[in-house]
Subunit: 233 residues, 2 copies
DNA sequence: CGCATATTTGAAGCCCATCAAGCGAAGTGG
DNA sequence: CCACTTCGCTTGATGGGCTTCAAATATGCG
């Protein structure tokens, strides 16, 4: 079950630098305390909010990884975004709409819950927040456009290769990195079946282009993958 | 060729009510005149800006229809958004990035070109703009999520059916409406080939579910299409 | 260890892309 | 005005890529 750990302590918050509150002056942090944002834990697959629910709160991810998911009546699902520590999500309430997707943790997570009304007030007083949010939205829109290109114009192997390359970018394309997504979750992200994902990964392992051990992955031959990926930018 | 028609006259602008400047007080409109936004005409397929170009201006569409397109090195393309009158686009410069897509008119268009630096200044002085822009971004992000679900989780017929239903919504699902997209452009939007699009449309015409005359379309049996579309929301 | 779950692998089939040809409407120039 | 071209759309035939169904193997967890 989810559990409320306590009130947020913005001043000492480890991920504030990565969040939309990074540029806030120290003085403003005291103010936020009045809002008493809640720090909440969720375990893996324990839904933070459901698609269609009234959107009364936004969230900032403090730890872990969250997937934003949309589901068709027939059960087919699509992961529309992956949320990392420092990212905020769940702003649909700003336009009076219910959540457009469900937010489901990929692992144990910790979020900071921000009531929208209070966030709205805070935003009005501090243009830095508005600015930071705006930049995030533009960035997210760009990433969504990139994803649409992936889904609409690329083949299975191309999508998977460019996903792996993007995923491994943080470690400079040459080290080991956690891959906390199951085959099925990778499939839901890329619009593929679990079998197709598994087949290509197995194949590329046999080719010696990638290796994998206990949930971590390592790209050995990025050239080959890059060629497969149909790189554009 | 594109041609600059003259300076914008915000006060008398026919589409201002639909734009991000709708809530601006009359007084502020005079200010904008100093910025002298340019009204520019483009003919169909005459690119407004190219993916990768430095993004120095944003645009508001006054008339016509624009497609935002991303292209792979091998030539495959994906329409990532359709822009209607009143919509603004091309904000990548706000985060210091080049345009993430190309903007290409589907027909003759008229745009209002806004230098980003000046728009930024105007935004700072008038929170209404910032607010309106924020709402648009949230809305666009929601639509992008919807599109990712379409592209990743639906089959050809389902994508096409729900596209037609969405397209015809403005006329209440029971009247004729312009469809200024060619088969090939519908394909680029839905991640399908021109032949697949043509086949289904022809089939549905034969079934008597839709009819089409000189670039206009009419849904006759929305129930059937709805069933095909895998409706979710 | 034993069970549940995730992954792999195989076989079959379908959906859609690809290749190819024909059709119709609009535009051009003689 | 009409042959000719062009372009978008249609329709057919074929093949391949990915899904689906199924079963075996690996992995993790109590």
């Amino acid at each position: 079950m989810s559990s409320i750990k306590g009130k947020g302590h913005c001043r000492s918050c480890a991920i504030r630098q990565m969040s939309i509150f990074a540029q806030l002056p120290e003085a403003a942090l005291v103010e936020i305390q009045h809002f008493q944002p809640s720090i909440i834990h969720f375990s893996a697959n324990e839904t933070v909010y459901h698609q269609g629910e009234a959107a009364s709160c936004a969230y900032t991810l403090r730890q872990g990884l969250v997937r934003l998911v949309k589901t068709l009546p027939n059960g087919r699902t699509q992961i529309v975004r992956l949320i990392r520590a420092g990212d905020s999500f769940g702003f649909d309430g700003f336009i009076g709409e219910p959540y457009n997707h469900s937010a489901i943790p990929l692992c144990e997570i910790e979020v900071c819950r921000l009531p929208l009304a209070e966030l709205l007030a805070l935003k009005r007083q501090h243009p830095e927040i508005e600015n930071a949010m705006m930049k995030r939205w533009i960035q997210h829109l760009r990433e969504a456009e990139d994803m649409m290109l992936e889904l609409g114009a690329k083949k299975a192997s191309e999508r998977l290769a460019s996903f792996l390359i993007r995923w491994c970018e943080p470690v400079g394309l040459n080290g080991w990195i956690e891959l906390p997504l199951s085959r099925s979750e990778i499939g839901e992200l890329l619009g593929l079946t679990i079998e197709t994902v598994s087949r290509f990964i197995s194949d590329w392992k046999r080719q010696g282009w990638i290796e994998e051990r206990q949930g971590r992955i390592h790209l050995l031959d990025t050239k080959q993958l890059q060629a497969l990926a149909c790189v554009d930018d």
